[in-house]
Amino acid sequence: MASFDTTHIISLLVPLLPLAGFFGYFLYGDKLSESKVGTLASGWVILSFLLSLVLFGQIPVDGAIQVNYFNWMQAGSFTVPFAFQIDQLSVIMMMLVTGVGSLIHIYSIGYMHGDNGFSRFFAYLNLFIFFMLLLVMANNYVLMFAGWEGVGLCSYLLIGFWYKNPEYSAAANKAFIVNRIGDLFMLYGLYMIFKHFGTFVYSDINGMAQSVFNADTAIIGIITLLLFAGATGKSAQIPLHTWLPDAMAGPTPVSALIHAATMVTAGIYLIIRSNVLFALAPLTNEIIVIIGLATTLVAGMIALKQNDIKKVLAYSTVSQLGLMFFALGVGAYAAAFFHLLTHAFFKALLFLGAGSVIHGMHGEQDIRKMGGLSGKMKYTHITFLIAVIAIIALPPLSGFFSKDYILASVFGKSPVLWFFGALSGLLTAFYMMRLYLLVFKGKSRMPEADAAKIHESPSVMLMPLYVLAGLSALGGFMNIPSIFGGSQWLENFLKPVVSLSELHIDHGTEWILMGISTVLVLGIVFWTYNMYVKKNDVPESDAVLATMPFANFLNRKFYFDEFYDAVFSQPLLKFSTFIQKWIETSIVDKVTDSFGMLSFFLSGQVRKLQNGHISFYLFAMVLGILGILTIFILL
């Protein structure tokens, strides 16, 4: 073990401080006042953020800091170190997690005000930050998997935070179990990695990848497919996407932090982290492209017909994540990561804005009952608008740069793929504008009495909105493409981790593509404005919706849930009861018991000899003696 220097201590403190916050909850419990608990919990994360900044400054230009603590598991040739790797990729993720995390902690002080589980909520959030940091800081797959499952645990805890509601706890179970299915495949991937590489450490594996690949081309393909299957679970890609919309049962800050900004991007992080392996597996990349594209389009279409403000955002998240995978599949790792960052900013902002609306409307989430809120919630409205412009990719906000980067990279691969990517962008524009206009513009659709009670959120909730709005607006400047004379700082910074991204197209074509998509998005903006503000259309009520086949199909989310329930959940339960009834009790138990029964039967037969007549016994005895004597004499 290397000697403990300051880097060791700092990088250990980064995840441990939030963990301290979690354990602190057991010490002070509900004894402290809300403001103290909130300040304390946020303080840990902010400290952690500052330490991440320190580490950011310490990263060598083309390398990584490896900090080794102890062996987590060890047996023979099998070793799993408890060690961190802090490189360009992980340090940005650390700053993202702790930075957005701190903002959402602060926001939650206002949002969770008066809740019974106030301090428990912050304990869970702190625990989540710890696991997320573990995930991004680990230097090997197993420790990363620890964080990976840990964030799943926190997601479970926070979705089911209001545990008295059975639907919420069902959603929590669903999230954990669906994630577990992905995790199972990921575990298979890890076992395979150990079988063929003999180690779990990223840097060792990256060094050996080429030679293992040369030995057997199928192996890398299988490993990467399994890892990707794990990623589909965590990042809510088809076919494992169904948990994320249900996960909106959790408090809104949770949706912002876990189900938009950080945890769901873990799958993208995993693939970028393993880009050396994925680069060697062309077939896997094809599959990722297909899955990513399918997810982004399907989720985009579903989002068109959702009427719950958080469900729209949830499907939007699924769709955006699909877009990122789409980019990963074509090898545009830096572009995907760039979009991950900008998406974290504006989607967190959207959720927090939505939270502010829900808070202001005292729990109402149906956009059909909102409308015209722009006057009543001025600051929420402005920040929400910034986020909307960012996500529909209008220049010069951050979403424009990142989405354009993805589309440009995709075009270099194939114009057909570009078309689908752009289509996804149009869907995004439509449902986001629909959401925005129905909530903030048009006429108020709620009863007068309710309308009077609507209030702007307190400043502790607005402050994080301002910061995130600033990041959403300016985040794109991290990676201004060369077409605008930028230096592509992010991509260059990531060079040591992500080596290949050579899909650039010439500037002329890029201008044309940008122009096309921007014009189309603007067209959609006007169309939706015309529809929802000028004509004052309101989405159909559920009863009307049921008469419209396609719309209903979208509203019911392509019937994924019903399908899974009928094909997997119910049969599994039925199958287990079947086994219990027909194998366990009817065969296994019966066979065992039949041995006992057999001996009872035989002894019953033998028992008939013992009829209790002494004279019979005597007779039998004499007969026996005679018999024995005869045998002796004859022999």
């Binding site: 102890f70 062996n71 987590w72 598991m73 060890q74 047996a75 023979g76 040739s77 099998f78 408890f82 197993v142 998997f145 620890a146 964080g147 990976w148 499952e149 840990g150 645990l153 479970y156 089911g160 545990y163 008295k164 509601n165 059975p166 706890s169 069902a170 929590a172 179970n173 954990f176 179990i177 577990r180 299915i181 995790d183 199972l184 575990l187 298979y188 890890l190 076992y191 395979m192 150990f194 079988k195 599994l572 339960l573 199958f575 287990s576 009861t577 086994i579 219990q580 194998i583 366990e584 296994v588 138990d589 066979v591 065992t592 018991d593 006992g596």
Partner: protein, 478 residues
């Protein structure tokens, strides 16, 4: 002498408790088990310090038949002693929360069982080992018969006794065969290790031993005594059964099967491995179908031990280390699970999952601790459950892909049944009435300790591997 102490302390305390009567038995039992844990801890510390086998006693016993009273503890024995004594302590602590009839007899029998189980783990002579092995059955039988809770407790007890006894007899045949293989009878472990057996003999011995261990462990299809016995026995006894008694069989596979019949394992090991792996899947499905929470936990335990058997059959260093690790893990986790079932039982006098609901709001501490145990049971990282499971499955993939796949599906199914149960029992609105005060004093202390050990082992696990390393290396690199 230290090794002998681990037998004598519980044995003598058992007699003292019987003599002293009902009033002091709880105190004596706690003191005795605590002393056992301390003694075992000291022995372990000595082992870590010197790295030498802890010599016990080696007295001639039945010289004409080559039987010696030989006790000794190496690393693996020490691990099992730790498991046995810690679980016995847990068991006694769980017992404190309930009122048992004839309380002095009850505690005396538990301590007897502990003493004999310790004997199994340190005996260096196969006949001595066999005697301890069977002696364990006697207190187990009376504990089940006298304090069990079942409509047909007699037939449950009889089934348990006869079934496990039948298996043991096969093992006795195997032992006598091994001991007299060279003409002059010698049952000492070293002599057995020194034998060079023909392949056919190995297969016969392997079959005789493995059937005994398959029943005791138990794994599919030899498990039909298990669910009833585990459900009927009082919770502390169930903890002993699943925490330690099943380990007797697993330990014996490690000690008497792997080194003695390598050829047979090379031929039939994969079959047993796949059977055990199938047993994991089967038990998980069974757990999913249960409506009685204790019965469900019984099947959970069966799933876990099946995984250990599969790992042992890999017969290499990584697999065996994984198995030993998971033995320690399973002992703690299963104690926690059955303790949970017992706490629920104390509330409403039933184990029926559907008669609970909404307990979370009244008992936050219990809810949190139950959750720690639950997640350890389904192998969440940073709990000890993950360590064992991960080590085993990694090794299993290298050895046998089919077995790995069969065994690993329970990762998902486990999450399903555990979370569904937790939701039904703990979450939701209150639809129950009963005694809902949160954990107090002993219970709280015990449950907190279990949770602490679960997380501690989940983060710092290598000490177990180090403890066993020399013994394991001796087997694989003689």
């Amino acid at each position: 002498m230290g090794v002998l102490l681990t037998l004598l302390i519980p044995f003598i305390s058992a007699i003292l408790i019987l003599l002293a009567g009902k009033n002091t038995s709880q105190k004596l039992a706690v003191m005795s088990t605590a002393a056992s844990v301390v003694v075992t801890g000291i022995l372990t510390a000595m082992y870590f310090k010197d790295g030498a086998v802890i010599a016990g006693v080696d007295w001639p016993w039945v010289s004409s038949m080559g039987i010696r009273f030989h006790l000794e503890a190496d690393g693996v024995s020490l691990l099992l002693l730790l498991i046995s004594n810690v679980v016995a302590l847990i068991s006694i602590y769980v017992s404190l929360g309930d009122n048992y009839k004839n309380v002095h007899q009850y505690y005396a029998l538990i301590l007897m069982m502990q003493a004999f189980m310790n004997g199994v783990f340190v005996a260096q002579d196969l006949i001595l080992y066999y005697i301890f092995w069977e002696l364990v059955l006697i207190p187990a039988y009376f504990l089940l018969l006298g304090w069990g809770r079942h409509d047909k407790i007699r037939s449950v007890t009889l089934k348990f006794f006869l079934y496990t006894f039948l298996g043991s007899l096969l093992m006795l045949v195997g032992i006598i065969w091994l001991g007299s293989y060279n003409g002059t009878p010698d049952f000492s472990l070293n002599a057995i290790y020194g034998l060079s057996l023909t392949t056919n003999t190995q297969i016969a011995v392997f079959a005789a031993f493995m059937i005994a261990y398959a029943i005791k462990t138990p794994f599919f299809p030899f498990h039909s005594w298990m669910a009833d016995t585990y459900t009927a026995a009082p919770a502390p006894v169930t903890i002993l059964f699943s925490g330690v008694m099943s380990k007797m069989a697993l330990y014996s596979i490690f000690r008497f099967v792997l080194p003695v019949v390598p050829d047979a394992i090379a031929t039939y090991g994969p079959f047993v491995m796949q059977l055990a792996a199938f047993s994991v899947l089967y038990a998980s499905l069974m757990a999913l179908a249960q409506k009685d929470i204790k019965r469900m936990f019984a099947y959970v335990s069966m799933a876990h031990v099946g995984l250990i058997v599969a790992a042992l059959m890999i017969n290499n260093i990584e697999g065996v280390h994984g198995a030993l690790m998971f033995m320690a893990v399973h002992a703690i986790v299963t104690s926690g699970l059955f303790f949970t079932a017992q706490i629920l039982f104390r509330m409403k006098g039933t184990h029926d999952i559907y008669s609970f609901g909404g307990i979370r709001q009244y008992m936050p501490v219990f809810a949190g601790l139950y959750m720690v145990v639950l997640f350890a049971s389904i192998g969440l990282p940073l709990t000890n459950g993950f360590i064992g499971e991960f080590m085993i499955l990694t090794a299993l993939l290298k050895a046998n892909t089919l077995a790995m796949v069969l065994a690993s599906i329970s990762i998902v199914i486990g999450a399903v049944y555990m979370l569904l149960t937790y939701r039904k029992v703990m979450l939701g609105q209150d639809n129950t009435s009963g005694n809902f005060s949160d954990l107090q004093h002993n219970d709280k202390f015990l449950f907190l300790s279990i949770a602490f050990v679960i997380i501690f082992m989940g983060i710092y696990s290598t000490w177990i591997t180090q403890l066993c390393d020399n013994t394991v290396l001796n087997i694989f690199q003689p």
